[in-house]
C-alpha cells in the first residue's frame, strides 16, 4: 500500500490539493449533516406551529454527548465499541470519495457507485451487529428491522444509480457527475426522473425518516433505528449520532450532485471549491427542506407496509434502467 501511495504522490502533482479537497468534503458532511437534521427539525416545528430547537441543536447535542461518561452495557464485546467507529469512518470515507464539493476527490480508484453502496452497507452491518451485542430484546429487534429495510432499500439504491451509470457509460461517480455537467439535456430525460424518484425513496429509508421510521419516537412497537442504538450512551452515542447525520448529508449531497450537478468544482482552485461548498449547502438544504415538508404531512407507514414502498422504489429504479436502455 505504501508503494501505491508513493506512486500516487509521484504521478499526481495535485495530490495535496486533492487530499485537502477530500478533507474539506469530510468536514462539510460532518458539520453539515447535523445542521441539515437541525434544519429539518426546525421546518417541522414551524409547520406544526412550534418554535422548535435551534438549527445548531444537533452540534450542541454532540458536544454535550462527547463530554459525558462512556457507559457500555455489561456483557458486550469489542463489537459494541467498534461499531460506532466503523459507522463514522465508513461514512467519512464515503464522503471523501464521493463528488460533493469537488468532482476530483482524492481516491479516484474508489469513487465508484458500488464502493459507496457497499461502504454504506458496512456502516449498517456494523450498527446491526452492535445492536445485537448487548443481548437485549430491543437491540436485536431494531437490528432485525434495520437489516430488513436495508436489504430491500440497498438494491434499489444500486439499481437507481445504475440507471445513471449506463447513461454515462461509467460507474465512476465523478465520471457520472462530469458527464451530466457536459450533457445538461440528460437532466430532464425520463430515466433520470424515474431514478430520482427511486433514490428519494431510498434516502428516506436509509436515513430513517417518515414514512419509513420516525426519528423522534421511542415507542417500542414502531421504532427501528432508535431500538438498535438504545444501549449507546455518551461518546459512543455521539459517534452513532454523527455517523447517522453524516449518512444523511452524504446521501442528500449525492442526490443533489447526481441530478443537479451545477456549482460543483470541476476544475480545481480555491474559489471554485468555495462555490462548490456553497452550492452543496444550498442544494442539500433545499432537498432537506422538501423532505421535511413531506414528513409533516405524512403519517408513518406500518412496518410491514414499508417493504411495499421500498419495492416500489426498486421497481421505479428498474424501470429507469430499462427506459434508459430502450431510449438509446
Amino acid at each position: 500500500m505504501i508503494g501505491t501511495l508513493a506512486t500516487l504522490v509521484a504521478t499526481s502533482p495535485g495530490l495535496l490539493a486533492r487530499v485537502g479537497a477530500s478533507a474539506l468534503q469530510v468536514v462539510a458532511v460532518c458539520v453539515g449533516g447535523p445542521l441539515l437534521l437541525g434544519l429539518m427539525g426546525k421546518i417541522r416545528s414551524r409547520a406544526e406551529g412550534r418554535v422548535g430547537p435551534p438549527i445548531t441543536q444537533g452540534l450542541l447535542d454532540l458536544r454535550k454527548l462527547v463530554r459525558k461518561e462512556a457507559i457500555r452495557a455489561e456483557h458486550t464485546s469489542a463489537v459494541a465499541a467498534l461499531a460506532p467507529l466503523v459507522l463514522v469512518s465508513s461514512a467519512a470515507l464515503c464522503a471523501a470519495i464521493t463528488p460533493l464539493v469537488t468532482a476530483r476527490p482524492v481516491i479516484a480508484g474508489g469513487a465508484d457507485v458500488f464502493a459507496v453502496v457497499y461502504l454504506l452497507l458496512m456502516g449498517s452491518v456494523a450498527l446491526a451487529l452492535g445492536g445485537l451485542d448487548a443481548g437485549t430484546a430491543f437491540g436485536g429487534m431494531g437490528s432485525s428491522r434495520a437489516m430488513t429495510v436495508g436489504a430491500i432499500s440497498e438494491p434499489a439504491l444500486l439499481v437507481a444509480v445504475l440507471a445513471l451509470a449506463i447513461q454515462a457509460h461509467t460507474s465512476n461517480l465523478p465520471g457520472i457527475v462530469n458527464a451530466s455537467l457536459s450533457h445538461p439535456e440528460w437532466l430532464a430525460s425520463p430515466q433520470r426522473l424515474l431514478a430520482l424518484a427511486a433514490l428519494v425513496v431510498v434516502v428516506i429509508a436509509e436515513t430513517g425518516r417518515i414514512p419509513v421510521d420516525n426519528p423522534s419516537t421511542h415507542l417500542e412497537l414502531t421504532m427501528i433505528h432508535e431500538a438498535m442504538i438504545l444501549e449507546y450512551a455518551g461518546p459512543d452515542l455521539a459517534l452513532v449520532t454523527v455517523g447517522e447525520a453524516m449518512r444523511l448529508g452524504l446521501l442528500l449531497g449525492l442526490v443533489a450532485n447526481l441530478f443537479f450537478p451545477w456549482g460543483i468544482d470541476a476544475s480545481g482552485g480555491g474559489l471554485a471549491m468555495l462555490v462548490g461548498l456553497v452550492a452543496l449547502g444550498a442544494k442539500t438544504a433545499a432537498i432537506a427542506a422538501s423532505v421535511a415538508l413531506v414528513e409533516v404531512s405524512t403519517a408513518k407507514l406500518r412496518l410491514f407496509r414499508v417493504p411495499e414502498l421500498l419495492a416500489g422504489g426498486f421497481v421505479l429504479a428498474a424501470v429507469a434502467v430499462t427506459t434508459g436502455l430502450v431510449a438509446r
Binding site: K68, G110, T136, F138, S143, G150, L325
Partner: protein, 672 residues
C-alpha cells in the same frame, strides 16, 4: 515439474486414504492429515506451475483402465479448479486433526476424507470421456461415504445421503448420456479429439449434448431447481467434508459446464448461455432468501452456496452469451469475474463451514436459536468466522467485494451490446447481484450477531471453549486468504486470467489493467481496495482520537459497565434476547410468497374458561418450496408406481414361471 508435482499430490492423497484405513486408531488421524496436507501442497505447486506458465501437460496410460486407458491432462482451466481445491484441502487437512481428536473417527471415515480429496483433484485433469466419468463417479461415491460418517447416530444423515445419492446419480446418468453421444459422433472419446471434430457436429446434436450435461453439472453445482440435496447433505456431513463439498465439489459443476460448453463444443448458441444465466438468477435469489430465513448454521451456509453458485453461473452465462454475440474481450472480463468469485467463494465458504464445525464442536449444537455469546468464549473462531461472514457480505476490503465489483463492472460494460436479449439478461444479472447483496448481509449479520454476540441461549453455548490450535490454523488460513485477496485482488487476476484465456473465450481479457487493485482498461472504472482500507483505517483512528481527546474530566475517561436496559425491570435473561427465528421473521414475512413458511399455533384453554389459555405452542418450519412443489409429486408418483408394480410379483413361484414362459414366447415372436 508440474506433472511430477501433480502426480505426487494424487499419490500422497491416495496414500493418506490407505494409511487412514490401515493404521491403528492413535496414529491414523495424524498420518492421514499430514499426508493429505502434503498432497494439497504438491497439487497446488503443480497447478500453480500450469497456471503461471500457461503450459498444459498430458499423460496417457493404457494400463490402468481396460479398453480405453486413462487420459490425464491439466490445462490452465483445470489447474484453476485443482488449485482452489488444494487451498481448501490444505485448510481442511489441518482442521481435521483437531476435529477428530475428541472422538477418533472410524477407519472408513478417516480414509474417505483424503480419498474424496484425491478424486476432487483428479476430476479437473480427466481428459477423456471414460476417465472423466470414472473420476466423476469416484468423486460421487467417496463424497457419499464421507457424508455417511455419522449415519449410526443420526437418522437425518441417512435421509440426506439418499437424497444426495439420487440427485448425484441422476446427474451423472445425464452427463454420461451426453458425453457418450458426443464421443460417438465426434469419432473419439478423448477431449482433444472431440474438440478437434466439433465443427462437423450438427447443431441439434450439440444442443442436446449441452442440455444433458448442463442438467448433470447443474445438479452437482446446486443450481435451483436441482439444489435440493445441498441443504440436506451439507449440514449432515462432518464439517471438513461439508467444507470440501461446498468449497470444492460444487465448483466442479461449474467446471463441467465450462469444459463441455466452451472447450468441447466451442461456445455454441447464445440460448445455451442464456439458460445458464437464468439458472443463475433463480439460484441466487432463491438461495439468498432461504439463507436469510434459515436458523441452522450449516443449512444457512448451504443455501448461501446456492446463492453464490448462482452468481457464478450468471457470470458464466453472461460470458457465454456475450462470446456467442461476438464480444470476446468483454466475455473474457465477465468470465474472469465469475471465476474470481468462484475462487473467493471457495475461500470464504470453506472458512465458514470450518467455523460452523468449530461452533458445533464447542457448543454441541448448530442451531442458532441455541447459540449466542460465543465471541467472548471463542474469540479466535469469532474473528475467523466474522472475516468469512463479512467477506461473503461483500464488505469493501474483503475478497467478496472485489469479485462482485468485477462482475458488476463486467455486466455493466455489456449494456453497450446490440443484442436486446443479452441486455435483458445482463439487467436481470445486475438486479440479482443487487438483491442478493442485501439479503446475504442480513443472513450473515444474523449468523454472526445471533451466534457469537449477546448472551448464551443454552447450557451448551454457555459452556463452550475455544477449539484447538489445528482447527484455528485451518480457519485462519482461509480467513487470511479472504483478507489478502480483498486488499490486493490484482495479484491473482493474471493467474485466473490464464484459465479464462485457455482456449475458452478466444482473445479474452486484455480488459484488465495490471496492478494491485482492479482497473478496467477500456473505460474509466477502477477500484483500489488497498487505498479504501487505508482510508478507512485513517478515518477510524481520527474518529477514535477525536472521541478520546474530547475535553472530559479524568474520572470519566475509561468506559464504565452498566446493566443493559431491561424495560424498567431489573431482570435481563437470555430468554429475552432476539433469536435467529425472530431476527429473520420480518424478512420472511415480506417474502412469504417465495418462502411459504408453515405455521402451527396450538392454544390449550383452561377447563374453567376458554378466555384463559393454559398453554400456547407455536411451530414454524420453512421448507423448500421447490422440494414441495416439484419433487414431492414426482416422488409420490414413483412410489405409486412402485406399489402398483409390487402386485405383480406376489411370491408365487408358478406365477414367476409363467412370466418366464410368456417372456420367452414374446422374444420368439419378436425375433420371428
Amino acid at each position: 515439474m508440474s506433472t511430477a508435482a501433480y502426480f505426487i499430490g494424487l499419490g500422497a492423497a491416495s496414500a493418506a486414504a490407505l494409511l487412514g484405513a490401515v493404521l491403528p486408531a492413535r496414529r491414523r488421524l495424524l498420518a492421514a492429515a499430514v499426508l493429505s496436507a502434503a498432497a494439497c501442497l504438491a497439487a497446488l505447486v503443480g497447478a500453480g506451475d500450469v497456471l503461471v506458465s500457461g503450459h498444459a501437460f498430458s499423460v496417457h496410460t493404457a494400463q490402468v483402465l481396460p479398453l480405453t486407458g486413462v487420459d490425464l491432462s491439466l490445462d490452465p482451466l483445470g489447474a484453476l479448479f485443482v488449485a482452489a481445491t488444494a487451498v481448501v484441502g490444505l485448510a481442511v487437512s489441518c482442521y481435521s486433526v483437531g476435529y477428530g481428536v475428541h472422538a477418533t473417527p472410524s477407519r472408513i471415515a478417516t480414509a474417505t476424507l483424503p480419498a474424496f480429496l484425491a478424486t476432487l483433484l483428479l476430476v479437473p485433469a480427466a481428459a477423456s470421456v471414460a476417465t472423466f466419468m470414472v473420476a466423476w463417479e469416484l468423486m460421487a461415491l467417496t463424497s457419499l461415504l464421507a457424508l455417511l460418517t455419522d449415519h449410526r447416530r443420526r437418522r437425518e444423515t441417512r435421509d440426506a445421503a439418499q437424497w444426495y445419492a439420487a440427485m448425484t446419480h441422476i446427474g451423472a446418468a445425464a452427463i454420461l448420456l451426453g458425453l457418450v453421444l458426443l464421443a460417438a459422433h465426434a469419432g473419439g472419446q478423448s477431449f482433444a479429439a472431440i474438440a478437434a471434430h466439433r465443427r462437423q457436429l450438427s447443431l441439434p446434436l450439440t444442443s442436446v449434448v449441452f442440455v444433458l450435461t448442463l442438467f448433470g453439472f447443474a445438479s452437482k453445482a446446486g443450481a435451483v431447481p436441482l439444489h435440493v440435496w445441498l441443504p440436506r447433505a451439507h449440514p449432515e456431513a462432518p464439517s471438513p467434508v461439508s467444507a470440501l463439498m461446498s468449497g470444492a465439489m460444487v465448483n466442479l459443476g461449474v467446471y463441467g459446464i465450462l469444459r463441455v460448453g466452451e472447450d468441447l463444443l466451442g461456445g455454441g448458441e447464445m440460448w445455451w448461455w442464456l439458460v445458464v444465466a437464468a439458472l443463475g438468477v433463480v439460484s441466487a435469489v432463491f438461495g439468498a432468501l432461504h439463507a436469510a430465513a434459515s436458523t441452522d448454521t450449516k443449512r444457512l451456509l448451504a443455501y448461501s452456496t446456492v446463492d453464490n453458485v448462482g452468481l457464478v453461473l450468471i457470470g458464466v452465462g453472461a460470458a457465454g452469451a456475450l462470446a456467442a454475440g461476438g464480444q470476446q474481450a468483454l466475455a473474457g472480463l465477465v468470465l474472469l469475474a465469475a471465476l474470481f468469485h468462484l475462487v473467493n467463494h471457495a475461500l470464504f465458504k470453506g472458512c465458514l463451514f470450518l467455523g460452523a464445525g468449530a461452533l458445533q464442536h464447542a457448543a454441541g449444537t448448530r442451531d442458532l436459536d441455541r447459540l449466542g455469546g460465543l465471541a467472548r468464549k471463542m474469540p479466535a473462531t469469532a474473528i475467523f468466522f466474522g472475516a468469512g461472514a463479512l467477506s461473503i457480505s461483500a464488505l469493501p476490503g474483503l475478497n467478496g467485494f472485489a469479485s462482485e465489483w468485477l462482475l458488476f463492472e463486467g455486466l455493466l460494460q455489456g449494456f453497450a451490446s446490440r443484442s436486446a436479449v443479452t441486455v435483458a439478461a445482463l439487467l436481470a444479472g445486475v438486479a440479482t447481484l443487487a438483491i442478493t447483496g442485501g439479503l446475504t448481509a442480513t443472513a450473515f449479520v444474523k449468523a454472526l450477531g445471533v451466534g457469537f454476540l449477546g448472551q448464551p441461549r443454552s447450557e451448551g453455548a454457555g459452556a463452550a471453549r475455544e477449539v484447538g490450535p489445528s482447527m484455528l490454523i485451518g480457519m485462519g488460513f482461509l480467513a487470511g486468504g479472504c483478507v489478502v485477496l480483498g486488499i490486493v485482488p490484482g495479484v491473482v487476476l493474471p493467474v485466473i486470467d490464464r484459465a479464462t484465456t485457455a482456449g475458452l473465450v478466444a482473445g479474452a481479457s486484455r480488459a484488465i489493467r495490471p496492478g494491485l487493485g482492479l482497473a478496467l482498461a477500456s473505460v474509466h472504472s477502477e477500484i483500489d481496495p488497498g487505498l479504501l482500507v487505508g482510508g478507512l483505517l485513517v478515518a477510524l483512528v481520527v474518529a477514535w482520537g477525536a472521541v478520546r481527546l474530547a475535553p472530559r474530566s479524568a474520572e470519566l475517561r475509561s468506559p464504565r459497565r452498566a446493566a443493559a436496559w431491561g424495560c424498567g425491570r431489573d431482570l435481563q435473561t437470555a430468554r429475552m434476547e432476539i433469536t435467529a427465528t425472530s431476527f429473520a421473521e420480518p424478512l420472511q414475512r415480506v417474502f412469504a410468497d417465495v418462502l411459504r413458511p408453515d405455521h402451527d399455533l396450538e392454544v390449550t384453554h383452561t377447563a374453567e374458561s376458554r378466555y384463559f389459555p393454559e398453554a400456547i405452542t407455536f411451530h414454524q418450519r420453512v421448507d423448500d418450496a421447490v422440494e414441495r412443489v416439484v419433487y414431492r409429486p414426482v416422488m409420490a408418483a414413483v412410489a405409486w408406481w412402485g406399489h402398483l408394480a409390487r402386485r405383480v410379483p406376489n411370491g408365487s413361484v408358478h406365477r414367476y414361471l409363467a412370466f418366464g414362459f410368456a417372456t420367452l414366447v414374446l422374444v420368439l415372436v419378436v425375433l420371428a
